[in-house]
């Protein structure tokens, strides 16, 4: 019973694909192309692997056929809604060393922005990402961490604790996130409602952002089907 059963029936999963955010430069595309060739990765679905689609905000999807990575999905993108440009992401990245490899991860604040999508499954993730960081660092936080929590915590109880412990909020913070006033007033149920509204606005903005891109994807699918029929 529980988690494994949810995985079995398809309601829960753990990540099995790799998302790569890259700088949209011709040099980089050449490097990526070589790596994808090494992995025997083929484009699945639309759009095709062309810089113009990536620059518009599309992601290109690959599946690897190489024996050591058979079936592995790779999604490549160069821009994401609400997320800074690649050079800024790169300066803020987290670098981890795993055995003999180095892996570059998006910073936590950038990942939180990237996860603010229209999908249900991303929102509990956003909440947990900030919670973990808060619990791990609240005893001795940096100024940047405190600001990050004020702007991104999605747990009413913790937001109220934060305001109580680290009061003296700047007017700029209140402007950026008006619901902090409700946290300051210690109205937990109103705060929960305001957080939900905040989420709804982000999800609507994500749907709006994707509307023209989805239309383009649909046109590409039709074109591909017509081409296959010929």
């Amino acid at each position: 019973m529980g988690g494994q059963a949810c995985v079995f029936y398809g309601a829960a999963e753990f990540s099995r694909d790799t998302d790569l955010a890259i700088l949209a430069s011709s040099e980089n595309f050449a490097r990526l192309n070589k790596t994808l060739t090494d992995l025997d990765a083929q484009v699945i679905a639309v759009p095709p692997f062309e810089a113009r689609y990536l620059r518009k905000g599309h992601a290109v999807h690959f599946r690897c056929q190489h024996a050591e990575a058979r079936g592995m999905r790779i999604d490549v993108m160069t821009k994401m809604r609400g997320v800074d440009s690649f050079p800024k992401l790169w300066t803020r990245r987290t670098t981890v060393s795993v055995q003999d490899s180095t892996i570059e991860l998006m910073s936590l604040p950038d990942l939180v922005q990237a996860k603010k999508t229209q999908r249900d499954k991303d929102w509990p993730m956003v909440r947990r990402l900030v919670e973990v960081n808060y619990f791990a660092n609240r005893e001795n936080p940096t100024r940047e961490q405190i600001r990050f929590w004020f702007l991104e915590l999605r747990t009413p109880e913790l937001l109220m604790e934060l305001v109580l412990e680290r009061g003296g909020l700047s007017p700029q913070l209140f402007r950026k996130r008006p619901l902090l006033r409700i946290a300051q007033a210690k109205n937990e149920s109103l705060l929960a409602d305001a957080l939900l509204e905040e989420e709804k606005r982000e999800r609507a903005a994500d749907r709006q952002y994707w509307t023209p891109l989805k239309k383009e994807l649909e046109m590409l699918r039709h074109a591909r089907v017509s081409q296959l029929k010929r």
Partner: protein
């Protein structure tokens, strides 16, 4: 101060308390178990994703890899 257990329960709180390196190791361990049980690399259909295409064929086998077979199930 609010403790993680009060918000997310024992299991999640234990996960929160691990260091990033420990979580990475645990995740690798879960991967091994997942593969031993016959888990597939094919992602689940994500109907809320802007990329979702119901017509897209899936490379997924009915029950993951051959290591897993359904021997009995309800009618639902």
């Amino acid at each position: 101060m609010i403790q993680p257990e009060e918000l997310v329960g024992e299991e999640w709180a234990a996960w929160y308390r691990l260091s990033p390196a420990e979580r990475w190791t645990q995740s690798e361990h879960l991967w091994q178990i997942y593969f031993r049980l016959g888990g597939s690399l094919e992602t689940e259909p994500d109907t809320q994703s802007p990329f979702f295409d119901p017509r897209e064929p899936s490379a997924r086998t009915a029950n993951g890899r051959p290591g897993m077979r359904v021997l009995r199930r309800s009618r639902v």
